[in-house]
C-alpha cells in the first residue's frame, strides 16, 4: 500500500514585472513530477541546487500550494486525500500525519523556546493533555539519544547535530505516517552526518517510517533509502532501487552525480566525469532534454525532442533517448 502518490505535480512561480505586476514569464520549479512512496519505504529525491526538490517537499506538506497535479496521501489505512486540492480548513487536522525535518538546524528551532516546549509544541496544538506531553517529550528525547536534561535548555546551548536531533524529535512527536526530510544532514559536519544518518536508520527500523529524503548528492542517501529518484530542472530523470541505481545508472546525469561521490579507497577511484556548464534556468529550460547542453552523450535528437520517463527494467524508470545504448559507469 502506498502512503503517498504524487502524480504530475507542477509548481510554477510567475515572474512579474512592471507597474501592473503583469506576468512576464514562469519559473517551472517543478514541472510534471510523479512518484510513489510505499508504507515503510524511504524514497530519496536527489538533485543539484535549484532543481526543484525542496519545492516538491514543500508542496507535499502544503507549505506551498501546487500549481497542478495530484498529491494522494493516506493519513490512515483505507483513507486517501488529495493534498493538492484540499481546502485549508480540512488540511489542519491532517498536518499531524506528515511532518518535516528541516535542513538548517539553526533556523528551524525557535531560539526563544526551551527544547522541551519546542518538542511539545506539535502535541500542544493538537490537543494532547499536559501530563501526557511531559512523558512523551522524555520518550522522544530518549528516542533521539538526547539526555532528559535537554528539556529545560534553550537551543543555543546545543551543537548543530544535537539541534538536528531535537528537530527530528519534534517531527516524530505525533507519530506521523510520512516524514519529509529536507536535506537533514547537508548543513552538518561529515562526522555528525554519519550520526544523524544512523539515527534515522535506527528510527526507520523501530518505527517503520515512510520517508521522503531530499538530498543534493548521492553520497549520503545510499544507506538510508530504498529507492532513489534523480531530479533535474523540475523533472525526474531516473528512478531506481538504490543498489541498482548506484551499480548501473541509466541516465548520464545520474552518472555525473555518482562520479561526484567520494570513494574512500584510492585504488578503486574510477574515471572522473566533470560536469561542464551551469544547471539550466527553470525559467528558460533548453528545448528537448534539459540536460543536453551538459551531456557528453547528447545527439541531435536530444536537442529537439524531450524524452519521456519510460520503464527500463524492474522498478526502473529513466528519461533518456539513449538509455538503452549507453554503458554508464556506476559505483560498487
Amino acid at each position: 500500500m502506498n502512503v503517498l502518490e504524487v502524480e504530475d505535480l507542477r509548481k510554477h512561480f510567475p515572474i512579474r514585472a512592471g507597474l501592473l505586476r503583469r506576468e512576464v514569464g514562469r519559473v517551472r520549479a517543478v514541472d510534471g513530477v510523479s512518484f510513489q512512496i510505499a508504507a515503510g519505504e524511504t524514497l530519496a529525491l536527489v538533485g543539484e541546487s535549484g532543481c526543484g526538490k525542496t519545492t516538491v517537499s514543500r508542496c507535499i506538506l502544503r507549505a506551498q500550494r501546487a500549481t497542478s497535479g495530484a498529491i494522494r496521501f493516506a493519513p490512515e489505512a483505507g483513507r486517501v486525500v488529495d493534498l493538492a486540492s484540499l481546502p485549508k480548513r480540512e488540511l489542519r487536522p491532517l498536518r499531524r500525519h506528515m511532518q518535516m525535518i528541516f535542513q538548517d538546524p539553526y533556523s528551524s528551532l525557535n531560539p526563544r523556546m526551551m527544547v522541551g516546549d519546542i518538542i511539545a509544541e506539535p502535541l500542544k496544538v493538537n490537543g494532547v493533555p499536559a501530563a501526557e506531553r511531559q512523558a512523551r517529550v522524555l520518550e522522544l528525547l530518549e528516542l533521539v539519544q538526547m539526555p532528559p536534561g535537554a528539556r529545560t535548555r534553550f537551543p543555543h546551548a546545543f551543537s548543530g547535530g544535537q539541534r538536528q536531533r531535537i528537530g527530528i524529535a519534534r517531527a516524530l512527536a505525533l507519530n506521523p505516517r510520512l516524514v519529509v526530510a529536507d536535506e537533514p544532514v547537508s548543513a552538518l559536519d561529515v562526522s555528525v552526518q554519519a550520526q544523524i544518518i544512523n539515527l534515522l536508520l535506527d528510527l526507520q527500523d523501530r518505527l517503520g517510517l515512510s520517508m521522503l529524503f531530499v538530498a543534493h548528492d548521492l553520497s549520503v542517501v545510499r544507506h538510508v533509502s530504498d529507492r532513489v529518484a534523480v531530479m533535474y530542472v523540475g523533472r525526474i530523470v531516473e528512478v531506481a532501487p538504490t543498489d541498482a541505481l548506484y551499480r548501473t545508472p541509466r541516465h548520464p546525469y545520474t552518472e555525473t552525480l555518482l562520479a561526484a561521490v567520494p570513494a574512500p579507497d584510492p585504488a578503486r577511484r574510477g574515471r572522473r566525469i566533470a560536469v561542464t556548464g551551469e544547471v539550466a534556468d527553470p525559467a528558460h529550460p533548453p528545448p528537448g532534454c534539459a540536460f543536453h547542453p551538459r551531456c557528453p552523450h547528447a545527439v541531435e535528437r536530444c536537442r529537439t525532442e524531450r524524452p519521456e520517463l519510460t520503464e527500463a527494467g524492474a522498478g526502473r524508470w529513466v528519461s533518456c533517448h539513449r538509455a538503452a545504448e549507453l554503458d554508464l559507469m556506476g559505483v560498487r
Binding site: 506538506l61 507549505a63 489542519r92 487536522p93 498536518r95 499531524r96 506528515m98 511532518q99 518535516m100 528541516f102 535542513q103 538548517d104 533556523s107 528551524s108 528551532l109 525557535n110 531560539p111 526563544r112 509544541e121 506539535p122 496544538v125 493538537n126 536534561g149 529545560t152 535548555r153 534553550f154 543555543h156 546551548a157 528537530g167 519534534r170 505525533l174
Partner: protein, 376 residues
C-alpha cells in the same frame, strides 16, 4: 536540572549551565551589559525620568511665579561654608539703582546670608499628581519674597530657570513617551498587517509611508499646529501635539515590524509551527512576536529622541505647546532674541538637557539593537 546538581558542579560548569538555561532576554541583557556607553546612557535616561517624576520636589521655587524685581538674575551657586564652618547659604538680593539708567537692579548681597535647608517648605504641589505637599529638596529658611535659590538664574519675568527646567523635563519627556506609544500602536498594527498579508495591502501601506515621509516635516507640522484652535486648553494642545509628532513617527516603526514579519515568515521554525498545525494567532503571538519584541524595543528607544526633538523644535518655533505650559522648547523660545541672550546667556541652558537626553537615548538604542540582534 535541579539546584543541588548545579551547586555540586565546578565554576565553569555552573557558568555553562547558566548559559544553557538562559532565556533570550537574559542573553540580551548580558550582551547589553558589555556595551559600556549604553549602560551609562541607561543611567542617564533613568536619571532624567526620575527628574520628570519628582520635578516639583526638585524645583526650588514656583516655576510660574513671576516677579519683575528679580528678572535676569545671573546663576548663583550655593555657598557651602562661611566663617563659622559648614553652613550652606545663598546671598540675599539687594536693589541697586543704576546711576545712568536709574533702573532698579537686584544683585546678590554678600552681607545677607540666607541659609539653605534640605526638605524645606515651599510652594505646594501634588506629588505624582495625588498627594498635596509643599516639601522640596532644597529651600530657603526665611528671606523676603524676592529671595530664592537661583541655580541657573532667572528669566525676564523673574521665574527661576532651574525650577522651570525641572518641570519642562517632565513635559518634554512625557510628550516623547506618549508620542512613541501612539506611534508604536499605529506602527505595530499597520506594519503587522503590511507584513502579514502582503499583496496590495502591503503595497498600499508602504506607498502611504513613503508619501508621509517625503513631506518635509517642519512645514507639515506648522500647517497642522496652525490648525489647532487658539481656544484649546494646555492639555488639549499637549494631546494634539503628540498626535501630530507621532503622525510621522509611526512610519519607521511600521517598517521595522513589517521587515521582521517578512523575514520571520520565512524562518523554518515558523514554517515548523505551521506544519505542526498551529493556528495563525498562535504562530504570531507564540512564535513570531517574542522574536521581534526586542527589535521593537530598540526601535522605540531610537524613536524617542526624535519625538523629543520634534516637540522641542515645534515649541521653539511657537507652534507646539504654548505658555503657560513649560517645556524645553518653550524655555529655549526665550533664548531666541539675541539681545536678551547677550545679557542673559544662561537662558540657553535648556539646550543642555535636550542634547544630553538625545545622545543618551541614541546610545541606549544602539546598545539595545546590538544586544537584541548580534548579527544585524
Amino acid at each position: 536540572m535541579s539546584a543541588t546538581t548545579i551547586a555540586a558542579l565546578p565554576d565553569g560548569a555552573v557558568a555553562e549551565a547558566r548559559f544553557a538555561q538562559a532565556t533570550q532576554l537574559q542573553l540580551t541583557w548580558w550582551r547589553f551589559r558589555r556595551h559600556k556607553l549604553a549602560m551609562v546612557s541607561l543611567v542617564v535616561v533613568a536619571l532624567f525620568y526620575s527628574v520628570a517624576v519628582f520635578a516639583d520636589f526638585l524645583a526650588t521655587s514656583d516655576p510660574h511665579a513671576t516677579d519683575a524685581r528679580r528678572s535676569f538674575i545671573p546663576p548663583q551657586g550655593i555657598h557651602l561654608f562661611d566663617d563659622s564652618g559648614f553652613n550652606p547659604h545663598v546671598y540675599g538680593l539687594r536693589g541697586v539703582r543704576d546711576p545712568r539708567s536709574f533702573k532698579l537692579a537686584y544683585t546678590p548681597d554678600p552681607a545677607r546670608k540666607l541659609p539653605v535647608r534640605l526638605f524645606a517648605q515651599g510652594y505646594s504641589y501634588h506629588l505624582f499628581g495625588l498627594f498635596e505637599t509643599d516639601i522640596h529638596l532644597l529651600g530657603l529658611e526665611g528671606g523676603a519674597r524676592t529671595d530664592g535659590i537661583f541655580l541657573l538664574g532667572t528669566d525676564q519675568l523673574g521665574r527661576d530657570l532651574f525650577s522651570r527646567m525641572m518641570v519642562a523635563t517632565r513635559v518634554s519627556l512625557s510628550i516623547g513617551l506618549a508620542g512613541v506609544a501612539l506611534s508604536l500602536l499605529l506602527g505595530v498594527l499597520l506594519g503587522g498587517i503590511s507584513g502579514l498579508y502582503g499583496g496590495w495591502v502591503d503595497t498600499l501601506i508602504q506607498r502611504v509611508i513613503e508619501v508621509l515621509r517625503s513631506i518635509p516635516t517642519i512645514p507639515l507640522w506648522m500647517g497642522l499646529a496652525a490648525a489647532l484652535p487658539n481656544t484649546w486648553s494646555v492639555t488639549q494642545v499637549y494631546l494634539a501635539i503628540t498626535v501630530i509628532i507621532s503622525l510621522i513617527g509611526w512610519t519607521e516603526l511600521a517598517r521595522v515590524v513589517r521587515g521582521r514579519f517578512l523575514s520571520l515568515r520565512e524562518e523554518d521554525f515558523v514554517v515548523a509551527a505551521e506544519l505542526a498545525g498551529a493556528s495563525q494567532m498562535r504562530i504570531i503571538f507564540r512564535h513570531m512576536l517574542p522574536s521581534f519584541a526586542s527589535h521593537v524595543i530598540a526601535a522605540v528607544s531610537l524613536a524617542l529622541p526624535a519625538m523629543i526633538v520634534s516637540e522641542t523644535s515645534l515649541s521653539f518655533l511657537g507652534l507646539g505647546l504654548r505658555p503657560p505650559a513649560v517645556s524645553w522648547g518653550i524655555l529655549l523660545q526665550d533664548a531666541q532674541n539675541i539681545q536678551v541672550l547677550s545679557g542673559a546667556p544662561w537662558l540657553l541652558s535648556a539646550a543642555v538637557p535636550v542634547t544630553l537626553v538625545i545622545l543618551a537615548f541614541n546610545f541606549l538604542g544602539d546598545g539595545l539593537r546590538d544586544a537584541a540582534d548580534p548579527y544585524g
